[in-house]
Symmetry: C2
Subunit: 304 residues, 2 copies
């Protein structure tokens, strides 16, 4: 028998997760994250935690938000016509970290919970989330470690989950207009309610709590690598792809901007300095070319 | 009696316009524009003309494209259910110029022509276009000159046109998520076929041919203004708004990227260097604050 959903338990966990991640990142960086608490007129609010011009992180945010409404708009439930019109709530933690050092990859993680009722008054809810890694200079051991950690976070919840969520991530974080992956991937899931609330919540917790394990060793390892203008330039150029993905394709970003979300919090995902240039391509045989040839094409990193 | 539409006359004019504008910009800049000619597998192609790291223009492109197809997709004619399914062609010149000097404004101009037939085999066509100015540091005389030139280009085609197209521009180039105009505006029109082909074509020609008159004196006037890091920094920050508008809201950009357009040509509108930072606001009383208070709010620049 499936237990009833418990949004307040999810909320307490999300707030704890935000705190834990911010504390750990502050310890690596040395700079304190700002804290901005905000209320939403229609219900709910959030806590933005962010740092700019830190010692390690050039720009990054770890945002908690909890928004609720009296009536779910039909557009928000286009693929679930059974659930429009009733009170709803959505909550989550979303983070993007852009390190200054071009050898340290950008990372994104998100865990979220959505809850409403259907026409019969029965609870309808699901979890979503994931994390993905976007290197500028690729390291196979980093990609392997990140994917291994994602795999391990999911292993006890079902043998097929990692493969499924890994593929979902590859498909979601894809720049169709470039025919190029955003980075080396990770995991992505949505509409997840398998095996009931307790089990789905536990799986989402396992993903969220694996983030530091997945990313911190990579950040520690790369943050002090010597670099020059060449690497900074390539980083700024590649960050353009991050902007293109988030503003053209990312559903969360677009939904947030179009629905009157808190713009400055949503756009914490934008990199601090970005460059565009026409038809630029790295020279063959360079580390920059290796990103395109050896890291961006989808592959099974656990077998690599 | 209305003359039949003449796509080849429009095409010849567009190619001439592209040449004239590129030549004039090259004369101001001193650097030669690159020329990239391309074919589209489904029909048509284009000529991209662009410059990067010029003496005056940091990045800019003046693109001609002519795309055609055997069957107009229903999605392209959602608001005109009478015209889906028949052969169609679309052609235009589109330009964005990002000068290096922060006192010189970014400018955008576009003229375009669409042609197909309806179910009865009768020609259906329209013109669209416009131009708008995006200063970083505002000058009232520049905004006045730009709007006056737009006004004069339209005057002989109808007394109400400028007011209508000016408002359309204000509404179109608006960042809803910021509640902020992209710049000081200009004119915008679409679906224009009033008074028949000859008259509509003549009006569109008048707009396209007014571009140099509208923009060059401003560029000449501002391109050598002394500036420092402060102005470059503000320019890079404000360029972020240009990116946000084009990637989130601009129909031409999104349609191009989603329909397999030529990504590098479409994204010539992206600025060369862009910065984002959290909740940044200019100090009161500064020239940067004046942009927000005196230039971005919609106003009648001819009466200003």
């Amino acid at each position: 028998m499936s237990a009833a959903p418990n949004p307040s338990a999810v909320k307490a966990w999300l707030l704890q997760l935000q705190n834990d991640i911010v504390q750990a990142l502050e310890a690596v960086d040395g700079a304190a994250f700002l804290r901005d608490e905000w209320q939403r007129a229609e219900g709910g609010g959030g806590i933005s935690r962010l740092v700019e011009e830190g010692n390690v992180i050039e720009r990054g945010g770890v945002n908690f938000s909890h928004v609720l409404g009296a009536k779910l708009p039909p557009s928000a439930s286009a693929h679930r016509p059974d659930i429009g019109g009733n009170p709803w709530e959505a909550m989550g933690v979303s983070l993007v970290i852009h390190p200054r050092n071009p050898y340290a990859p950008t990372v994104h993680m998100n865990v979220r919970f959505f809850s409403t009722t259907n026409a019969a008054g029965e609870p309808v809810w699901w979890f979503g989330g994931g994390m993905d890694l976007t290197p500028y200079y690729g390291f196979k051991e980093d990609a392997r470690h990140f994917h291994q950690t994602c795999h391990d976070a999911l292993a006890r919840f079902g043998a097929d989950l990692h493969g499924k969520f890994k593929q979902w991530c590859d498909e979601y974080f894809y720049l169709k207009h470039r025919q190029e992956a955003r980075g080396v991937g990770g995991i992505f899931f949505d509409d997840h309610s398998a095996e009931g609330f307790e089990q789905s919540f536990a799986m989402t917790q396992s993903v969220g709590q694996s983030f530091l394990k997945a990313y911190l060793p990579i950040l520690e390892q790369r943050k002090d690598t010597p670099y020059g203008e060449r690497e900074r330039d390539f980083q700024a150029y590649r960050r353009g792809r991050y902007v293109e993905f988030n503003l053209v394709f990312d559903r969360g970003t677009l939904f947030g901007l179009q629905s009157g979300g808190r713009t400055e919090a949503i756009l914490m995902s934008m990199p601090p300095i970005v460059k565009w240039r026409y038809r630029w391509e790295p020279e063959e045989g360079t580390p920059e070319a290796a990103l395109y040839s050896d890291f961006l094409p989808h592959r099974d990193w656990l077998a690599a």
